[in-house]
Symmetry: C2
Subunit: 140 residues, 2 copies
């Protein structure tokens, strides 16, 4: 759709096929934050045909596995919100006890500043995460 | 697990089987907010066996359909966070342009107070939502 920033996506993708893309979100506080973006301009999960819904679900699952493997988070947060950009996408966010908002959601008010050395170490894992995601999706 | 508030769930359920329960969340600002709670004390979606993961995914989908049918939201938000209670559960939240946080997530700082008459009208739909959810899950 013209004017939809996800239809006109111009960021580098880690996975890119005819149905969806996986991207790494460049969030300074949340290294390893990743998204699955459905290609068609669809609003809700329940607007998808069954086969597409299962395909998207499988994609979010594979992404969660890769994020857990590499980022070793305390918890994973998975969400499809889309109030600002109503084009179906899923957030997969590795969470840690020392992250900026824990235990609140990342959209709440920040609770602390994470130690910069910790963030540097987590950011250093991101290239490895990109490889792990690519591997997780290579088998389909 | 002893001490886990979701293992020791004591609120009324709309759907209740050996694998999961569906509850309506009593949130004054978000009539129609509902949750799917997995019964076993599991932390992440990706900790489930494949069949259970698909069953839970189907439950969230059925719940989303019922919420859309009855609450007629502008957008549905679907999320599995669990930072405070690391026992697998999914939030399904009907969102409206005039709700307390729109377009931000419901966990952000409130942006406004929704007109009380609007909230009263939405709350009046909740019994109908409970029936719609029960119907959506009766076929499995």
């Amino acid at each position: 759709m013209i004017g939809c920033e996800l239809c006109e996506l111009s960021v580098p993708t880690v996975v890119d096929n005819d149905k969806f893309a996986v991207i790494l979100v460049d969030d300074a506080n949340y290294p390893g934050f990743a998204r699955v973006i459905w290609k068609a301009h669809v609003r809700e999960v329940s607007d998808l045909a069954d086969a597409d819904r299962l395909l998207l679900n499988d994609a979010v699952y594979r992404l969660e596995l890769a994020v857990r493997d590499v980022m070793q988070p305390l918890k994973v947060n998975v969400a499809s919100l889309g109030n600002v950009v109503p084009h179906l996408h899923w957030h997969v966010i590795p969470r840690y006890a020392d992250d900026a908002h824990f235990p609140a959601p990342v959209w709440a008010q920040a609770a602390r500043t994470t130690d910069e050395a910790v963030l540097v170490a987590r950011r250093a894992l991101v290239p490895q995460l990109a490889e792990a995601i690519a591997r997780r999706f290579a088998s389909r």
